[in-house]
Each structure stands twice: as structure tokens, then as C-alpha cells.
């Protein structure tokens, strides 16, 4: 270790000089690279947040895309369909006979990238590892009691709380199947003491042992991730020999590269750069409707702000904000706006429903509510935000926009820029004294996960003590078997929390990905891993 950390890597120097300079096999020089382009898919994206490719340790924004290409989960979600699940490594699933868990029938003949056949043992081991490693993903399946092998092609996942959702959660790339033998040979452990015993982090960051369409071949931090085709893939021969995920932090550089054809897709363009691409015939824009939220949370702790403690005063803010101006002008229309923390596209949340029940700008009503609240002449509150941007729009600009909007009904906003760490600490520990502008990127597509959070931890942060019936509504909606009734219950729930006026969803981003026309299928998904890499196909 110590030898490698020196500034000059001596081993490499010796290698290089010894090899006579010209032969650099490992580095794949740029010009050679250009010639192998045809069978290679190159994505340009800011992956500076990728700090691990270990499924059981995932917590970042961009890493799930890579992991989902190399590994498969038992069930999955097809792009655009976020209510019903699709089979993946499991072909069938149903409640266990005793009703305490779920029983999965495993797909026959699935092989890992090594060519070995996947077994029920691998599945159980993979889940055990997530649980025993105790990293962030384990939090989402904290209600899983144990995983049991029924026979060689059947497993049971037994829950502590049988009514709580499981399937939508384990569709995420955190809960995938690893080849036990290979993983263990490289230091992985799923035992009770996995927290200390598992030494696979380093290996698993630049290799993979899954059943996915591609296999991780290399990861050079802040440079690129390389994937190569898995010839044993169960879903047919993957179309590309190689996938390169290039780290390009700068939007302007991504724009140039996608124009020149150096990359096949650019992920981090700001609205002004996207506008510049509209006249480019070789590039099209693909919308990636995320399930993310950009929102403002308002505390109702009277000690912090007497006015905000009054519901009508908070509602007045809700009616004063010009949401259309934010979505249409500032984002160029590239966003949706749900009524509350149920993104457009899931059960009980459509654009139509949102139009009916969400706040919309109505200054007269805002003034009326202010009078009812006893603040006819307005009041003052602060909005805290960090130094960051979503879709090229900074929180600061959003804060300024809200500040000028609510000023029209006499409410004064004091903006407070805060560094990310303090902001997050204040917010998660319920110490925010007014409003907070922030972001929520749910890790799995599951209404119950978000709705339960809203009445539990998210409510605590704004000092709201939700009445019993609202809390009950969440579990009622989550366990309702009839889809139509379920949707109605979710609508009802949204009406209640909108009325409560602690959270104002400003927008749900629809990221605009620039894709070259050399790509035919580019199945972007909102389900948390951005892109179904195995489904990307070239034209012709």
C-alpha cells in the first residue's frame, strides 16, 4: 500500500521504460480507442459522486446505473411503468402460504458472467450480505427477517412486518444477486460479522460477479468505468462489446463531445446548452422523467417562527409562489409538478390529479388566508439553501424567485445561503428556523416508502405531529389490493398533506439527455438507475 501511495508509481515507470515506450497496452491510447468505436457505447456523464460499485454499499446517484448493468435483481421495473413489476431473475412471485413473506420462483438456467449457473444459495447469500454488512441499503430492507431456501429454484423472503412493501424496494440495484463463490474468493462475507469480515470493497469496485448483460472491467475514479459484454447473459446477446462511462464534469465539454460524436449520450446539460442542441440533426433529446423532488420544507415550530406555526399563513405562501414561472421559464418546461411527495407516474399521481389538488398561484386567496391567519400585513421568514443546482437551476435562483413572489402578498423572505453540511444537519435534526430548499431522490419506487417518511421523519423535521388518521391512511393505501381504490386513497392522502402545507414541491425534474442518432433504443428510466444499459441498442 505505502509503496503505491508515493507520488511516482515506480512499478509503472519501470514497466513503461522497459517496454520501450511505445507499447502501452493498459492505457488504451485515445486514437486506438476511436477505431473501436463502432462496437462501443460511450456515455458522457458526471460520475464524481460514484465512490463505490458494491451493490450492498450503494448510496449515490450515478453508481446504480453501472451496477444495474452488471447485476440483476429478482424483479425489476420497465421504463415508464412504475406501478407493476416485471420479472427478472425471478419469473414468478406470490405471498408465502403463511402470508408472512414472499415466495420467488427463480429463472432456470441463468448463468453468471463466469459461466456458472445461479443457484438459490447465491440469492440467499447476496441478501444476507446486504443485511449483515449493515451499510445504507440494509436500512431499506430492515423489515426483512430472513431469507430461506425452499428448494433449488425457490426462495422465501420472510418479513417482520408482513404488510410492509418489499417487491418495489428489492427491484433497486442494491438488492441484486452476486456469485457467492467468486465474491468470497475475493474477500466478501455475508456472515454475521460481515461489517468487519468483508474485505471485498476494493475488488468489487473494479470487477463484478453478476448475471447482468455487461461485466465491470475497470473503474478509474473520476475518469471512466469500463464494462464488457457478458457472453453468458440470459437475456440474449448484448449489442455492445464494450461500454465506457466517461466522467465529464463539465456540461460545455459534454455538449461539444456529443456534437462531435465522441460520446453517444450527454447527461449533464443545462437548459441553455439543450437549447443549443435543438438545431443539431445528429442528436436528439430524450427526456428522463425522474422521480426526484425539488421542494421547500417549512417548519411549524412556533418557537422558531410564530407566523409559520399557523397553517393558513403557510398556505398563503403556497398560493403566492409562481410555480409556472419556475417550470416553464426557469426550466424551459423540462419538469413536472406533482401535488406532494408522490411523483407523477406512480399510483395516485398524474398530471391531471396534481392540477386539481396542488397549490397554484392565487394572490387574492393568499391575501385572504393571511388575513385569516392574523397576519394581514404579512410576516417574515427565512429560507435556507445550499450552493448547488438541479438541472442548471440553482437553489439560490429558486430562493430569489420565491422571495420576489411572496413579496407580492407582503411576506418578506430572508435568504440564508448555508454550506451543505450545516444545511443538512440543521434540516435532518429539525433545527431549521424557517424554510429549506432541498432535494429528495428516493432510492426505490414505492409510494409507501415516501408517504410513511412524510408522516414520520420528514414530519419531525418540520415539527409536525401528524394526526392519527393521516398516518393510518398511509398504511391503508399501501396495503389496499385493488389498484383503483388504492389510487383513490393516495389522492386522498395527498389532499391531506397538501392542506397541511409543510412541503411545497417546486418541481419534479425531467432531465434532458442528448442522444446521438447512432443509438436506436435508449431506455431511460425513472426507477433509480437512470438507464437500462442492457436495453441500449445501436441503429443499423
Amino acid at each position: 500500500m505505502a509503496g503505491k501511495l508515493g507520488w511516482i508509481d515506480r512499478r509503472r515507470l519501470v514497466q513503461l521504460l522497459g517496454a520501450g515506450g511505445g507499447a502501452i497496452a493498459a492505457g488504451l491510447p485515445s486514437r486506438v480507442f476511436a477505431q473501436t468505436r463502432k462496437n462501443t457505447l460511450v456515455l458522457g456523464i458526471d460520475i464524481s459522486d460514484t465512490i463505490t460499485l458494491d451493490p450492498a454499499r450503494l448510496a449515490q446517484y450515478t453508481s446504480p446505473m453501472t451496477v444495474s448493468a452488471a447485476y440483476d435483481s429478482l424483479v425489476t421495473m420497465k421504463p415508464g411503468e412504475y406501478i407493476n413489476l416485471a420479472p427478472s431473475l425471478a419469473t414468478k412471485w406470490a405471498r408465502t402460504p403463511d402470508g408472512k413473506g414472499w415466495r420467488f420462483t427463480l429463472r432456470e438456467g441463468v448463468k453468471f458472467s463466469t459461466g456458472n449457473v445461479m443457484t438459490a444459495e447465491d440469492v440467499k447469500w447476496s441478501f444476507d450480505r446486504v443485511i449483515n454488512l449493515g451499510d445504507q441499503p440494509s436500512q431499506y430492507i430492515a423489515h426483512v427477517d430472513r431469507v430461506e431456501i425452499v428448494d433449488k429454484s425457490t426462495i422465501d423472503i420472510i418479513l417482520k412486518e408482513p404488510a410492509e412493501p418489499l417487491l418495489t424496494i428489492i427491484a433497486a440495484p442494491e438488492f441484486v444477486v452476486l456469485e457467492r463463490k467468486v465474491a468470497e474468493a475475493n474477500g466478501a462475507s455475508a456472515a454475521k460479522d460481515a461489517k468487519t469480515a468483508d474485505k471485498a470493497a476494493q475488488w468489487i469496485n473494479s470487477n463484478s460477479c453478476g448475471t447482468g448483460a455487461y461485466r465491470i472491467a475497470a473503474w478509474e475514479r473520476n475518469q471512466q468505468i469500463q464494462l464488457v459484454r457478458n457472453d453468458h447473459y440470459w437475456g440474449g446477446k448484448p449489442p455492445y462489446e464494450r461500454i465506457v462511462i466517461r466522467h465529464i464534469s463539465d456540461g460545455a465539454a459534454q455538449l461539444l463531445a456529443v456534437r462531435r460524436g465522441d460520446i453517444d449520450a450527454a447527461f449533464n446539460l443545462i437548459p441553455e446548452q439543450i437549447a443549443a442542441l435543438k438545431s443539431e440533426p445528429s442528436v436528439r433529446l430524450a427526456p428522463l422523467a425522474s422521480l426526484d423532488f425539488v421542494y421547500m420544507a417549512l417548519t411549524q415550530e412556533p418557537e422558531f417562527n410564530k407566523a409559520l406555526a399557523v397553517k393558513e399563513a403557510r398556505q398563503a405562501i403556497g398560493y403566492a409562489i409562481d410555480y409556472d414561472g419556475i417550470v416553464k421559464s426557469m426550466l424551459g418546461g423540462a419538469a413536472l409538478r406533482p401535488a406532494h411527495f408522490l411523483p407523477i407516474g406512480v399510483s395516485g399521481s398524474t398530471e391531471e390529479i396534481a392540477r386539481q389538488i396542488a397549490f397554484k398561484q392565487d394572490l387574492a386567496k393568499a391575501k385572504e388566508l393571511l388575513a385569516t391567519a392574523g397576519f394581514k400585513d404579512g410576516f417574515e421568514f427565512e429560507i435556507a439553501y445550499g450552493n448547488a443546482a438541479v438541472q442548471g437551476v440553482t437553489y439560490q435562483d429558486l430562493g430569489l424567485k420565491i422571495q420576489s413572489d411572496v413579496a407580492r402578498v407582503g411576506i418578506k423572505v430572508n435568504l440564508r445561503p448555508v454550506d451543505q453540511v450545516n444545511l443538512r444537519t440543521e434540516y435532518t435534526t429539525g433545527k431549521s428556523k424557517g424554510g429549506v430548499l432541498t432535494f429528495w431522490n428516493p432510492p426505490a419506487v414505492e409510494n409507501q416508502l415516501w408517504a410513511a417518511a412524510v408522516v414520520q421523519r420528514v414530519a419531525k423535521r418540520v415539527h409536525w405531529n401528524p394526526p392519527e388518521d393521516i398516518v393510518k391512511l398511509v398504511s391503508q393505501a399501501a396495503t389496499e389490493p385493488d389498484p383503483k381504490k388504492q389510487a383513490e386513497l393516495w389522492v386522498e392522502w395527498q389532499k391531506r398533506v397538501v392542506d397541511q402545507a409543510n412541503h411545497f414541491i417546486l418541481f419534479q425534474p425531467v432531465y434532458q439527455i442528448a442522444v446521438r442518432n447512432t443509438i436506436k433504443e435508449f431506455p431511460l428510466t425513472a426507477a433509480g438507475w437512470m438507464l437500462d444499459l442492457h436495453g441500449v441498442t445501436p441503429t443499423g
Binding site: 448510496a59 465529464i248 453540511v421
Partner: protein
Amino acid sequence: MSRYILSRLVLAVVMALLATLVIFLLANTVPGDPVLAQLGDLAASNKEFVAEWRAKWGLDLPLWQRYVIFLQQLLHGDLGISISSQRPVLQDIRDFAPATLELASIAFLLSLVVGIPLGIMAAMRRDSWIDHLARLISLIGVSSPTFWLAFIMLALFYGGLQIAPGPGRIDAIALPPTSVTGLYLIDSALGGDWDTFRDAAAHLVLPSIVLAAATLGLITRTTRASMLESMQQDYVRVARAKGIRERRIVIGHILPNALIPVVTLGGLAYANLLTGAVLTETIFSWPGLGRYTFRSAVTLDFPAIMGITLIVAVVYLFINLLIDISYALLDPRVVR
């Protein structure tokens, strides 16, 4: 002499450690919790989980104990694990430092190569057009806000005229040369990969001009002033009276003396270039220490902050030490 150097060395070590202690204490007055900023929404709300993660970075220990651990690790050449990148701080720094070193060195060279001759000419032809030009260039150089100059350069030569490459160290899609030193120019030359060499060199042009602007002004002014002072020394008059040719007087007598302050100032300027490239790096998407520093500071990444502070302090003190030693060698009175 060696005793003098030794005592200065000891002092430098003490100062560097003191710097880390001050930053450590200061950063700990920040109320935020770096672990919360790293965790997802659900995990951040789970008290046990947060406590466990705090323990992972030793954040649960008393202050003094944490600092002692930092010192112990330091003795073993270890700067600990970064909270945000979750890998050794030294490895992070090894990844980011070469980009800054390369950029700062090229910028420094540029300011020397242009600044010193310009300063000499300005002093020799005092009050001529070249003196005025030199004055104007150097004043504009020190008066330009780097972040703005960087923007203008990019907007003009990359966005507008399209004759310069965009942000980054090499073409967005090209792969960096096989890493030996981490300096792309040297690595690509070693590997004989001249395409990459040209690419890397082209990408260095705009940012190094931007970074060099202020230093160039400083070097030019100092060279001029110091030349003027040397020219008035008695030995120069004597040489002139002896009828020695002007060119020889300048090269043989004036320059060596005049350049001493330039060396001092240059050393300090180089230290500043190494540590002060945050703004230039931000605009040019330069994956260097400046941006790493910035990111570590915003995420309150204690181990990274301590590591960078230490390294910056060491670089600064080392350069200062070199300057002092060279002074001592030139002027033995200093030692007393």
C-alpha cells in the same frame, strides 16, 4: 550554517503541525455533522446508524484524542480516510495534485519567460514605450479577477472563435496517458504518445495564461524595480567608467544582483500558484487540488481538510526555507 538550517527545519515542522491544529479546532467549531451530509435520507434519520458512521471516522471521540490519532497516523505516513471519497486522503491527493502541479508550473514558467525580459527591457529603456507597455501589461495582469479572465478566455477562444480546446486536462473523450508522474505532458512524452501530448499541451494554454496573469505582473514589476536599483550601484558606475561594454555590464553585473529579489518573490508566487488555483480550476473543470480543497471544505471532510492543510503548509514553509537558505548562503550575516 547547518545548525541554522536545522533550527529552521524544526521550526517549519512545528509551524506545519500548528497549522493543522488551528484548522482542526476551527473546523470543529462548525456545528454541522459531515456524516449526515454523506448519508441518504433514511440512514441520516436513523440515530444508531449515524452513531455507527461517526464512530467509523472516529468523530465520536473527544477532540484531543482525535488530534492525537491524526498525529499518530501521520507518523506512519498516513493521512486517514476521506469521509466523502471513502478512500485514503493520500491517494486522493496523489490523484489531484499532479493536475495542479502541471498547471502551476507551466503558468509559473510562462510568467518568468515573459516577465523577466519584459522587466529588464522596461528598466533599460526607462520611460520609453516599452516601459509604459510593460507597466500597462503588469497592471492589467494584477488587476484582472482570475475567475472572470478565465470566463472571458473560454467564451472568446473556445465558445466564440473555437480555436482553443474546452475545459478539462485533455479532450473529453481521450484517455489520459499511462500514469507515471501524473503530469500528462511528461507521461505522454515518456510513452511516445504525441497525440495526447499535443492534446494536453493545447488544454494547458488558456488556464496557464489565466493563472500566469497576476504573477506575470508581479515578476515584471519586481524585475524592473530591482534592475533600476542595481543599475545605480557603485560597482556598475565603476564598470561603466572602466569602459566595459553595456551588454556585459547588464549580463555580468546588474542581472545577477537584480534577480535575487525576483527569485524570492518568484518562490512565493509559485507557492501561491500551487495553493491558489481554486478559481481557475473551477472554471476550467481542472481536476486539481484547488477543487479538491474546495470540495473537502464544503463537505467538512475532516481528514481531507487536515491533509491538504498539512501539505499546503509544508509546501509554503519548504519554499520559504529554500529562500531563507539561499539568502543565508548569499549573505552570511543573516545567520547571526
